[in-house]
Symmetry: C2
């Protein structure tokens, strides 16, 4: 049975070529890197864009706190509870919120986004990613990809902090302000930790001025102008 | 301009549903986990299968040493050289070959494969993954996925060690035998570190007995029988 089927199977040396993937998926794999303050509207935009892309026949996937922080970049406690890691092992590999841990968090996300984009998908990442150096490193691994540069599109969600703070959907700004008032730092971006705005982002969207639908339209227009999706 | 485009954009609350992804990609996302000794033919099978799947219109992607060990699971030296990590930071997050590091290596790969499968792709992982516990943990995160269980297909590439050792494409068995003869362990699977064969793999393929084309045909047959790809 298998031997008969097997006669129909052919393949070439080496891995699948990027142009074969593009032909199948009818799109060019790319990473759309959303960056901005907590409450700026990154995830709202990314999730809406993902849906609209899929409705239009494009393969897309959002990487965000929901699917990363409980899995790939879980903290020590989750690694102990769900994986049976020893305390030493969990503290070593689990990610908390120190500067080093945040850097490693963004490094791993950049690497995974690159794998998705290399597979031909549109990877949408939605993380504050406050440090320019870390975002630039993510860009670099895309642009220096061995099999050919992968488009990296930095989308700065530039919503002003007072607008973000009014929304405060998770009550985090209030918590951070209270912590600072009580003389305890929380290392919260925009309050007692810096947000380094992108210098040359591919797109800037202020969700205090534009609706989600408008923001999504701006991104689609950009992608079409670069030939990454159908117009 | 964007405002006019924006009127055509609609989306629903929450993230994309698995059935929407299935409808777009005309397949069910799943992980095909190849396991077996060094030289058993895992990567040859995975790479050939990926090509044949893509020829047939299925989105698939191989995760293997080539795209993982230099990126997501890089060792300390790469993290220092390419990311500017301090030595302490690089030793903490970089993966070497101790038991703990190998466990974390497979853990991260399992998490990334799950993300790929969740996005609707067929994720093909090609790693020795010698420990049953680590493979079972990878299976568990697929089967306990919040948005619904994701198929996890363990493919045991059961080629006998003497066949693998005759092939020895990278000269690793020779190196390991020499190290053991010289009284220095190398922790090499099958030589001085155990390979724990799967107990209930979905498929078993001995590449000493079957050609690559036959092996690929067996896997395609299995996938079609489960409705994961077109027959």
């Amino acid at each position: 049975m298998s031997e008969i089927q097997a006669t129909k199977i052919t393949w070439h040396e080496g891995t699948v070529r990027p142009e074969e993937r593009r032909a199948l998926l009818k799109q060019t794999g790319a990473t759309l890197w959303f960056t901005g303050l907590s409450g700026s509207g990154k995830s709202t935009l990314a999730v809406a864009l993902e849906q609209v892309l899929i409705q239009r026949g494009h393969a897309a996937y959002v990487l965000d706190g929901d699917n990363i922080r409980f899995g790939l970049n879980a903290g020590p406690k989750i690694l102990m509870d769900t994986r049976g890691y020893s305390e030493t092992q969990a503290k070593r590999f689990g990610l908390a919120f120190s500067a080093e841990d945040r850097e490693e968090n963004i490094r791993r996300i950049g690497e995974v986004a690159k794998l998705f984009a290399d597979s031909g998908l549109l990877a949408l990442t939605s993380f504050i990613s406050p440090y320019r150096k870390d975002r630039d490193a993510a860009r670099k691994i895309h642009e220096s990809n061995k099999a050919g540069a992968i488009p990296f599109i930095e989308i700065y969600v530039s919503t002003a902090i007072d607008v973000c703070e009014q929304r405060d959907p998770k009550g985090l700004y209030k918590q951070a302000r209270d912590a600072v008032a009580a003389g305890k730092g929380m290392g919260f971006t925009g309050v007692d930790d810096p947000y380094e705005a992108p210098v040359n982002p591919e797109l800037t969207i202020d969700t205090g001025k534009y609706s989600t639908a408008e923001g999504v339209a701006m991104i689609l227009e950009y992608l079409a102008s670069k030939g990454l999706v159908n117009a």
